[in-house]
């Protein structure tokens, strides 16, 4: 026996089919208007997990880039200050050689000693260089000025190392501690102590000390400055390399996130057009099928 088809069956199938197509259209519509294919976790639970991971990666990546930018700014400030100190030291060396010759009289040497004292103050001022309000040579005591220009030759910072994270678990120390480069008046052999020694030898007329020990000590102290400059250069290079690597990763992660999360607009448009066609066909067929019955053809 063929299945009996009743009016209610026709109406309810039509309704449920129309509902299905409308749901699909609404889904496509949402995808188009939001630009996302994952609107809710249930749309693609594992895609959602991937999207969350990519988003977290991107956030960390941006943070690492921001850390690098901060450290790079710090490096540039350090480099400039070290160059400045190096030039001042060079000038002091020239003056020392000049003062060490016996031709300069006591008054000449005293004038040179005065200039060297001024150079020491300039070096201390350079040692107080700040980056974003932080004293870059003060170790981790970044709010304390490490040197006192026109004051005692003490180092007021500490030897703490400042560290930034430029990748997952990659910690890079980025500060140059002033006591290692500029030193203080009490530590023999440090830049300041050497210069103070030169200044006092000049005033005392101790030319033999100036010609030998003092100059050697100054050169040794200057080596500390150049070696710090080399370290700063190396760290800068490392930061630059890390930054460009992070930018590449950011690009590829962004594209992966987009692949996972974003709607394929042309595909959705095609789907939507098809769904609209089906919807119209269903409406037309529904109107044609549901309306007539035997009653329309029976004469009264």
């Amino acid at each position: 026996m063929t299945e009996r088809i009743t009016q209610t069956m026709l109406a309810s199938s039509l309704l449920s089919d129309l509902n299905n197509v409308t749901n699909q259209m609404s889904k496509s519509q949402q995808e188009l208007s939001s630009g996302k294919q994952i609107l809710e976790p249930s749309d693609d639970p594992f895609g959602t997990a991937r999207a969350l991971a990519f988003r977290a990666d991107l956030a960390s990546n941006q943070q690492y880039q921001s850390n690098i930018n901060n450290a790079t700014g710090w490096q540039n400030a350090t480099d400039t200050a070290l160059q400045n100190i190096e030039q001042l030291t060079q000038r002091a060396r020239d003056l020392t050689i000049q003062g060490a010759t016996d031709t300069s009289g006591a008054s000449g040497r005293s004038a040179i000693a005065d200039e060297i004292d001024q150079l020491i103050e300039s070096i201390k001022t350079a040692g107080n260089t700040q980056y974003a309000g932080r004293y870059i040579f003060a170790g981790s005591a970044t709010t304390t000025a490490p040197y006192t220009p026109d004051g005692a030759d003490t180092y007021n910072g500490d030897t703490g190392s400042l560290v930034t994270e430029i990748g997952q678990g990659v910690h890079v120390p980025y500060n140059v501690v002033g006591s290692n480069v500029i030193g203080d008046g009490a530590t023999a052999g440090s830049l300041i102590a050497s210069l103070r020694q030169i200044s006092s030898d000049l005033r005392a007329g101790n030319t033999s000390a100036l010609q030998n020990g003092d100059l050697t000590a100054l050169d040794a102290a200057n080596d500390n400055v150049t070696s710090a400059q080399a370290t700063v250069g190396a760290v800068s290079d490392r930061l630059t390399t890390a930054l460009s690597r992070l930018q590449q990763i950011q690009e590829s992660t962004t594209s992966l996130l987009s692949d996972t999360e974003d709607a394929d607009v042309s595909q959705v448009m095609v789907d939507l057009t098809q769904e609209q066609t089906v919807y119209q066909a269903a409406l037309k067929a529904g109107a044609d099928i549901v309306q007539p019955s035997l009653m329309d053809f029976l004469s009264s």
């Binding site: 009016q7 976790p41 249930s42 639970p45 959602t48 969350l52 977290a56 943070q63 709010t143």
Partner: protein, 455 residues
């Protein structure tokens, strides 16, 4: 023995009456074409007992309506109710889980995942400028937003639980109301059947109520024992507990249902369980995440030194057992961000401790996963559960639809069919009337014209 002259009139009259009743039934069917749960009826015609007419044999005496039958396949009913139960379960589950999933707001830039990312970033920013109060302020605010995010999600999950519990209470009320209606119908059906008639429409109403009941929970129908059952009374068991016994309905409570495994009530319970389960519930997992963040941050924070040179105090405050809902940044930290212990060696510029806290992001703190991964797993679990509920609902709905169609195919009213029946019965009525007219003319001939030969 000869037949009565008027027998033909009687036969034609029976025909008229029978066709008229057929038309009445057809009219009843048409009137109920859109009535939910209505089964089409037919009037069953039988020939009336024949009269002996020797020597020719038996002569027919016409037709009568023997009974009115409703066309129904009780096997489809049983199948349909079994699937309706599962559909009710899937429907309730999908409704609840959809609510849970929209509370997550993932994936987006506003969900808990991005609040977590901001929180870790804020610690990193503090490592870049630990002596800066504004940066610390930003960290305290970011941590407060994270805590708010946890609080809100927990409160939304709790709202879903309490709303679902209210729905359960309402639904149990519905079950009891249906139960008492069925008990009343049992009584009416019994009375009618004892009087010798089949109360088709009452049976339809009772079947419709049983259909509704099976969407709510496990429903089993059995014939009432003894004579009550013979006269059409049925007993209903709901969720393993007797709901209707003959004409008595019990008042059920949710706690009293011993084996509720299907239907909307069980679906609602599964939503509640999936949120509050003490081992694997969503809220339990969220609490674990909140408590891990709080304890890991606090432990590391206590090892550091704040801007005033004091050891770190509590960073987050939580109430054990209800961590996600109660997570908050310690009020002292919010009031004075200088109390954030970023330094390890005590110097204001040192941020090793802040870096150590920022690095907790990579720590495998939640069952071998990072906190971010733990949250992502929770989102994935909710997404997968919801997806499964949606698929179950789609499958069950199409099963129920196809069974409903099968039932409509058997029991539903086809207007075309009723129209053609109407034509048929109308013609039958007209023909019976014509037979009556013929008889009448015959008798007229006999009574008024006989004996007029030659007049």
């Amino acid at each position: 023995m000869s037949l009565s002259t008027f027998m033909g009139l009687e036969t034609a009259l029976r025909g008229l009456l029978a066709q008229q009743q057929e038309i009445d039934v057809t009219g009843h069917n048409i009137a109920n074409a859109n009535t939910a749960g209505y089964s089409r009826e037919t009037a069953n015609l039988v020939a009336t007992p024949a009269l002996p007419n020797p020597p020719s044999g038996l002569i027919g005496t016409g037709v009568t309506v023997q009974s009115y039958t409703r066309i129904r396949d009780s096997f489809i009913d049983v199948q349909l109710r079994a699937q309706t139960m599962k559909q009710g379960y899937a429907q309730a589950q999908q409704d609840g889980l959809n609510q849970v999933q929209s509370a997550l707001e993932e994936p987006s830039d506003t969900g808990l995942s991005s609040l977590l990312a901001s929180y870790w970033s804020a610690w990193q920013n503090v490592t870049n400028a630990p002596e800066d109060i504004a940066t610390r302020q930003a960290l305290a605010q970011s941590a407060a937003s994270l805590a708010d995010g946890f609080n809100q999600l927990a409160s939304q999950l709790n709202t879903v639980v309490s709303q679902t519990q209210q729905q359960q209470t309402v639904t149990i009320g519905q079950v009891n109301s249906i139960g008492s209606q069925i008990a009343q119908l049992n009584s009416a059906i019994k009375t009618a059947e004892m009087g010798g008639s089949t109360p088709n429409d009452l049976l339809d109403q009772r079947d419709e109520l049983i259909d509704q009941l099976s969407a709510l929970g496990n429903t089993t129908v059995s014939q009432t024992a003894g004579t009550a059952g013979q006269y059409g009374s049925v007993d209903i068991t709901f969720g393993g507990t007797a709901l209707v016994t003959d004409t008595t309905a019990s008042t059920l409570t949710l706690a009293g249902l011993s084996s509720l495994t299907s239907g909307q009530l069980a679906g609602m319970q599964s939503v509640i369980d999936s949120i509050t389960d003490p081992a694997s519930g969503y809220l339990t997992k969220l609490n674990t995440l909140a408590s891990t963040i709080a304890s890991a941050t606090n432990t590391q924070h206590a090892l550091g030194t704040d801007l005033n040179g004091n050891p770190g105090g509590a960073f987050f405050d939580v109430t054990a057992g209800n961590e996600a809902a109660t997570l908050q940044v310690d009020p002292a930290i919010l009031a004075s961000p200088a109390l954030i212990a970023a330094s390890s060696n005590g110097a204001v510029g040192d941020s090793a401790n802040a870096l150590a806290i920022a690095d907790l992001q990579q720590g495998l703190l939640v069952g071998g996963s990072t906190i971010d991964q733990g949250y992502s797993q929770l989102v994935t679990q909710i997404g997968a559960d919801t997806q499964q509920a949606q698929q179950n609902l789609t499958n069950q709905t199409s099963l129920v639809e196809s069974l409903t169609n099968r039932r409509a195919s058997v029991s539903g009213v086809s207007l075309d069919e009723e129209m053609s029946n109407l034509l048929q019965f109308q013609r039958g009525y007209q023909a019976s009337a014509r037979a009556l007219t013929a008889m009448d003319q015959m008798i007229d001939q006999l009574v008024n014209r006989t004996g007029e030969v030659g007049l």
